[in-house]
Amino acid sequence: MARDLGLPGIDSQLAGFVRALRAAGAEASVAEAIDAARAVQLVGYADRETLKSSLSVALAKSEEEKAICDEVFELYFRVPERGQDAEQKAEGQGQGGDTPPAPRTGDDEVDALLDMAEQQAAGDPGAMAAAMQRAGQKAGVDDIRFQSQTAYLTRQLLEAMGIRKLEQQQQQLEAGAEGEEGAQGSAGSALRQTLAAARARLQRQARAHVEQRFALFGKPATEAFMAEVAVQRPLGRMSPADMDRMKTAVARMAKRLAQRHSHRRRITLRGQLDLRRTIRANAGHDGVPVTLHFKHKRVDKPRIVAVCDVSGSVAAHVRFLLLFLYALQGTVADLRAFAFSNRLRDVGPPLETLPFDDAMNLILKEVGGGSTDYGQAWQDLYDQHWQLIDGRTTVLVLGDGRSNMTNPRLDLFGELAARAKRVVWLSPEGEGRWGTGDSALLQYRPFCTHLGHAATAADLERAIDEALSAYG
């Protein structure tokens, strides 16, 4: 149990926890931290489970944050390790009666350290944990960022605790022992052993403390930094590790977009009376207009038709675009997604029923691989799904426009552009390569509301943000 760690200043303990929580990606505001402090004042640190649920109730405001909160709690309020030989010692005491008092150096500071180490060995880690906490703050252990700092910070922590004096004593004794063998007798060697044991114990605990702080503050910060880098990295050149990181990053970006675009479905046109509804509402008041109804402008829910080229060069981009769009599906936009290399296929059903990765692999297997034919894709869209395109639709095309010299069907694409609200074309290729070789991108360009280069996840976010901003 974390029963009474004996730490002075409850609030530095809690403040550290809130900081760790933020480092792990949960948003805990100052107001929430104050709530947590008041909650802790009420329930105290005595009962671990109660403390855990209190902090979770006050600080975490969604299911994901609850998971983060519980995880950080386990790390932060970790049960201090009992000394390994505590049980042996207890047994020894049971058999042999009182152990003789441990030898002391006579130096107060060093003796304090020895006391702590012995208490910890005997199963009472409170004093050492408290001292370590204080020394850790002095040595800046909480600022740890990289694992490679562990050794350095461990040493800093030990020095802050005053281990240097202990080491000096140790060296003096060693030197003395070499000089006059046996003269000091058993008292000297017992002291030497005590010092060595205490030093080893301190070192072990200090290292454990620094490692725990790295898990709390360093690792999440490093992860967040890597994710930030991954967002700016070209999508075509992602390592598998980046892919995983991207999934959480994209989810976060999508949530941000959803928050920005989810509200304001109705805008009141102030001053324009809705006569019909006002009369209806006041019929019960003998026609006296008591409650007034004003006209509203209904804001269209964005409707997005995504048409994605899944030929080899664009596949990675399509994966992220769909990941993005499906995170927004329902809450923000009505979405229909199609993929093609030559024939167009509705990829909504697999994406809605299967886990995302499985769905994506299935789509790439079934649709990808053919020789790219944009003209045929427009033809299929025209034949089968033309009713989806109307004045409220944004058509989002993701592709490089390399159509293997087939007819680009500009006539159909022009008609599509005229019918839809907006046509946004995102190309994974840089502007310099548009129109080179078999790329028909420059021919499509006049019909597009926007044609842009989308190399990174950040670009995709911006493009979707712009598309959604066109509504309301």
């Binding site: 505001s29 107001a31 929430e32 709530d35 008041r38 909650a39 009420l42 329930v43 489970e49 109660t50 649920s53 209190s54 979770s56 109730v57 006050a58 975490a60 405001k61 969604s62 299911e63 609850k66 959803a258 928050q259 989810s262 509200h263 479905r265 019960g284 008041h285 003998d286 006296v288 008591v290 409650t291 809450t331």
Partner: protein
């Protein structure tokens, strides 16, 4: 523990909360009891999220019942506005009174010769018509006015519009309602406020920050047995274990709407009525529509029903130690 004279004994400690709720048949887990306890002592509303039918609304009802407080319920829906949530002027009564008092008013005004004089007199009466007499309190105002403490349940807040959340902020933060014609009405005894949400939309940060947040998920086997024992007394222990094992298995199947606590209680009652004392495939097949409410879900498990039942019966038979009798 702070000595607050207004604290009912049922909220004095976390264990007291658990015990009080148990007395009305609500089995509260540690997080639930903690949240209720903190809500009272920190004077903060609790926002409860979780799937439908796990006992979110029931918690509010049980608290009110066990503390013998009034339960005031505000069911949210799209288009809910302040005249349905806060207060409304009794227009009809106002009109009726003016009609009845017409002559009296004519008489009063009659003795002033000028228009200004009459107007001045009339202005004096206006306040009469916009007084407490003509105020129709709606749930939020009602909760503020309760003298003996109350539980205010704002149900399915996610169904309302975002603008309604803004309306709630004053009520939830300061426990007061401002009426322009009358002034600010503060709560005598702050009500215990419980908001529930099925998460059909993301709630605003401003609202979330003002609330304590509690998530209630599907119960585990031990908890589910406890709840069923409290809710459906007289159910044979052997059947109870099988039933819970079956429902736990069913929840991890690939179905759209897994059965929640409400459905397991219904099913337990059904089986009790049928005098069943053990699960078998035919029985499950006949009563499956109590558990699963979607045709597609029923079809999904139809084929494996025999295996599921068998697995549940076996699971219930082996770990007898799991259920603390």
């Amino acid at each position: 523990m702070p000595a607050d004279p207004s604290t009912p004994p049922g909220l004095a400690s976390i264990d007291a909360v658990t015990a009080t709720l148990a007395s009305v048949g609500y089995i509260a887990t540690r997080p639930i009891a903690t949240a209720v306890y903190l809500a009272h002592h920190l004077r903060k509303p609790v926002l409860i999220e979780g799937p439908a039918g796990v006992g979110k609304t029931d918690l509010a009802v049980s608290i009110a019942k066990s503390l013998q407080h009034a339960l005031i319920r505000l069911q949210c829906y799209e288009g809910l506005d302040d005249s349905r949530a806060l207060y409304e002027w009794k227009y009809g009564k106002q009109l009726l009174y003016t009609q009845i008092l017409k002559e009296k008013i004519g008489h009063l005004i009659g003795d002033s010769d000028t228009l200004e004089g009459a107007f001045g007199k009339l202005a004096g009466f206006q306040d009469l018509f916009f007084s407490r007499e003509f105020l129709q309190p709606r749930p939020l105002l009602q909760a503020m006015e309760q003298q003996g403490g109350s539980v205010l349940l704002i149900d399915e807040i996610d169904k309302s519009e975002e603008s309604f959340e803004a309306l709630l902020l004053e009520v939830l933060a300061d426990y007061q309602v401002t009426i322009p014609e009358i002034g600010t009405i503060s709560a005598q005894v702050p009500p215990l406020v419980i908001l529930t949400s099925n998460n059909t939309r993301e709630l605003g940060d401003a609202l979330k920050r003002r609330c304590l947040h509690l998530h209630i998920g599907y119960p585990d086997a031990v908890l589910e047995q406890k709840v069923l024992r409290a809710r459906v007394p007289g159910l044979p222990e052997a059947l109870l274990a099988q039933l819970v094992a079956f429902i736990q298995l069913l929840r991890v199947q690939n179905i759209r709407k897994p059965p929640s606590m409400a459905e397991s209680v219904d099913w337990a009652r059904t089986l009790l009525l049928l005098h069943a004392d053990a699960l078998d495939e035919a029985l499950v097949r006949d009563t499956l529509n109590v558990l699963l409410k979607r045709e597609t879900d029923i079809q999904e498990v139809q084929g494996t029903l025999g295996q599921l039942t068998q697995a549940a019966v076996q699971a219930a038979a082996v770990p007898a130690a799991r259920t603390p009798a």
